[in-house]
Symmetry: C2
Subunit: 212 residues, 2 copies
Amino acid sequence: MADPIIFGPNYSTYVRSVRMALEEKGAAYKLHEVDIFSGENQNPDFLARQPFGKVPAFEHDGFQLYETDAITRYVDMTFEGPSLQPQDARGQARMTQIIGIVNAYAYPPIVGKLVIQRLVMPKLNETPDEQAIAEALPDARKVLAELERLIGENAYAAGSHLSLADLQLLPVLDYLSMTPEGGELLAEVPRVKALHAKLAERESAKRTAPQL
Amino acid sequence: MADPIIFGPNYSTYVRSVRMALEEKGAAYKLHEVDIFSGENQNPDFLARQPFGKVPAFEHDGFQLYETDAITRYVDMTFEGPSLQPQDARGQARMTQIIGIVNAYAYPPIVGKLVIQRLVMPKLNETPDEQAIAEALPDARKVLAELERLIGENAYAAGSHLSLADLQLLPVLDYLSMTPEGGELLAEVPRVKALHAKLAERESAKRTAPQL
């Protein structure tokens, strides 16, 4: 059986979540780099895999797939290794909820605005848009407070074990912590901060560190 | 055990997907109407359930939850009745992918622009924004073509049986079909059109028809 292939840039949080799922399973995989800053995600080859031009795309044994949540669940069901999903209905629900919250409420302000302006723009020799950053901070603060509430006394995001919710969170928290504003924001949410520190120590996190 | 309660307006596609999941399970539930047009989703009571002000929120036996995908999966795992998820990894993946596609690529142009302008604005005595509609049509066409491809020869959206993917799709397709543009768009995607017609015949669809 062929190794799965991930199509996308190593610096994408969504690509990293998929890679971390495979790393946690101990599964071999290939990363086919697709650079979105140079527009490779709009090339016909990539659009044939993901017609909306978003990353990552994925292939395993002839099965083509996209949407990170679909890929990570597929990885969890298909490969040997520890389960990455709670087995009970409430734990499953909380995991799915947190994945949804990361996508809908955390990614847009934290990555789409703060991280892009603070970490990416300087790499492109552009000046950060301070207005966009100022707009992002209240939204970032709100979603972090809600994650703090939902994590509660759990050892991991969605319960007592590592799950796909943690793998969706880590790449976003990692980038957040690299911004000047991140330290202050994370200091306000000690459970989220502690979870980030714990997850960042995992081999799966270290082996997938982005090369921005 | 108390009946689950859905908090949100009957006319929301996301509320309808959750209701349809409960109807397909044959489970009793309560709908607590929260009108978003009058801003009830910004009231403190509602924000305590869903801090981002989106619908629906959900409660069952003291367990509070939001994010439609999390709720429908919880419903499927918790209540008796036919399974609403494929059991194999590829079917599961396709279901999750289609749910993601509906949320990320179908809802924004079809509901967020076309349906709001064509069906909602006239109810509010507002003039439809033809520019917004013109912008929505290519995006709507693109996502419908992709759904047509993914449905392929399947009897339902994600395989041979009804799944949560169908319940996410039906409310969006139903609204689309009520717009003047919907007929032409659906005529271009015969599998999607046939699936819509089949799903619209279900009791779960009839019992949850929106009252706009």
